[in-house]
Amino acid sequence: MELLSGNEAIAQGAWEAGCGIGVGYPGTPSTETLEAFAKKEAVYAEWCPNEKVALEVGVGASAAGSRVLATMKHVGVNVAADPLFTAAYTGVNGGLVLLAADDPGMHSSQNEQDSRYYALAAHVPVFDPSDSQEAHDFTKAAYALSEEFDTPFMIRSTVRISHAKTPVNTGEKENYQPKVYEKDPTKWVMMPAYAKLRRVELDKRDAALSSWVEECPFNIIEQRETSKGFICSGAVYQYVRDAFPEASVLKLGVTWPLPKQKLESFANMVEDVYCIDEASQYLSSQILALGIELSQTPHPLPAAGELSSRALRLAFDDTEATTEPEAKLPARPPALCAGCPHRLVFKELARAKCIITGDIGCYTLGALPPLAAMDTTVCMGASISMAHGFELSYGESEHAPVVAVIGDSTFAHSGITSLLNTVYNQGVGTVCILDNRTTGMTGHQGNPVNGKTLQGRQTRELNLEELVKALGVEDVATVNPNDMKATRQAIKQALEAKDRLSVIVFRSPCVLLRDSFVAQAPYYVNGNCTACGSCISLGCPAIEKNPADGTASIEASMCVGCGQCSQYCAFEAITQSEGGR
């Protein structure tokens, strides 16, 4: 028995099934799955620039005969939706399993979408594990089933499955022999004439899956007392068991297609049948569509956010008492690290009173006070395309300068096509690429810009400046973002050329990168401090404003010696300590 996270269990299950190729793009809460898979014996795994590319690599490897694991977070499935919908037509050769990791409660995401709607829409069967053991078992089983039914399978996880460690009995590795690829354009070339034939196959497959799902051992009726019965899946099953240990439960391990007969027999078995959904109405809407009547909880369950056993109890009895939360505690939001190379870019863009279209990554924290230097964040790559949209809408009218801010990994993910569009359509404005040499927020993964690969193979670094020039941007600068004057000057120059498109590459390593960031001697505030508040406005977690007199002080143990703050001090009140660290 091992204590594994759901992500580790999925990797283990895939490996045991003889999956030899893993692909994906990092995204919380999916990231550790591919990282764990990459460490298995005799496998190949790679980070791809984005999820669409990853799934396409996966479909190719499956066509050639390998068993493949593709991992991504829920919003990554949006990006991969194009190959997903048509891979459901082509089907597979070697088994193909896609992990879609949802984030109810939005712990680290921009929305709360439910990936099972993709399973439904694309006709791809989906497993919905309720703990790591099931994550392991379902993943392992999915490969043979994928080949049997000639379809990709989806594993839908949520943050509480992916990031909870629960006991797992692992198994033996199967000796999978890659299948032989045989040329068959009617299966693999999805032009209309062949796609129409595959559509017929897809409908036959749906019918076969509907029969299979009635017998699938992953859908389990647990008969206990019969006044209340709960239909549920995933983490919600655990909350139901805690809240109502005596109630009967239909635990759905497969949430598309649904087992109509099993649902009906469960509904007939209990007096009141409830379907418990978390952060979406997927399950209840599909069950209602099958014509099964559901009872309403006496008090409504929350529509948004995560459920809990208490939320379930409250839906039946809202008189449960608890301790009140403590009032008036200061919030503790996440913040850019001390020495973060993104800080001064936001400070200077705010100073220049820009409209700043932002993107997805650590640097989204630039939206929070005191920097408060971001106007929009929507999805990966949107900073550049939205900036173009702002410029189009403003046209010739007087307006604040529009600047897009995007990280290196995000730029490689889907910023390149956005920038190409702006160039192609003769757009204007400024794009800042914050190249901190890593994919920061998800835990420092390799990407094409830093030239690091998942399994440590040698590769080349993407030359951002040359790429941007090749796209057709003439005005390209490279700046050290820890240098306030250089940063200010570069932004000023770019903003002055209103009729041009310019790109500034701000390059400096993330302070958490142990192999490339070197901390310097810390700074301290000397007696010259006039309490002007200039350094405080940088929002560095190492700098504190003294509540009594407004002067600043620097916590030496947190300061990494970047010297950003000293450049903002007009009174020479911030000095570096002697010696090193």
Binding site: L3, H107, D131, Y239, M441
Partner: protein, 194 residues
């Protein structure tokens, strides 16, 4: 000490304080003591210096991997404000062990918010054990072992044998720091049970 059917521990702190390592040690000790365990943590954006919580639920049969308001048997807090922030997750009569330090979040550092005044007094009203974990860690010989000091304090309320704890510490921490961590554990323990 008899083994209750379920024990829920909420670990609360600030991103980067080592709550996950402490939770891992606790989980392994519970498993080695024959219990089923579920451990839940959150990665990603919240780790950048924000509030973090980790949950360890242990018992003969464990379902939920999280803790709702009013359910925690134990709150192990790595900072006083985070202890107060999570106090309503504790069930009546639940035990609280708190690292007696205050870490100011960014809104306080920039002068936009205030720290609670005298959180120690408020926590003592809840019956909290305040642990000078930082000082005890230094005394034990490793400044980084404050989380193990706190585990030592927590261990006084849990039905696990000392040698099981110590075995797990030996297995988990870097070899050079084993002695310091074992001492940290003992100091945390004797801080609550002299």
């Amino acid at each position: 000490m008899t083994m209750p059917s379920i024990m829920r521990v909420l670990l609360a702190g600030v991103g980067g304080q080592g709550t996950i390592l402490a939770a891992d040690l606790l989980a392994k000790t519970a498993i080695a003591s024959g219990l089923e365990v579920k451990l839940s943590e959150i990665h990603g954006m919240s780790q950048r210096g924000g509030s973090v919580t980790t949950v360890v639920n242990m018992g003969e049969s464990v379902h939920s991997m999280v803790i709702s308001e009013g359910e925690a048997d134990y709150l192990l807090a790595f900072e006083t404000t985070e202890a107060l922030r999570n106090i309503h997750f504790l069930k009546p009569g639940g035990k609280i062990y708190v690292n007696d330090i205050q870490i100011s979040p960014l809104p306080v550092l920039t002068g936009k918010a205030l720290m609670p005044s005298n959180p120690q007094m408020r926590l003592e009203q809840y019956g909290a054990h305040l642990i000078p974990a930082q000082d005890l860690a230094l005394q034990a010989g490793s400044a980084k072992s404050a989380n193990v000091v706190l585990l030592g304090a927590l261990s006084t309320g849990l039905p696990f044998a000392d040698d099981v704890w110590e075995e797990q510490i030996r297995l988990k921490v870097p070899p050079k720091t084993i002695d310091a961590n074992l001492e940290a554990f003992r100091l945390g323990r004797s801080c609550v049970q002299p």
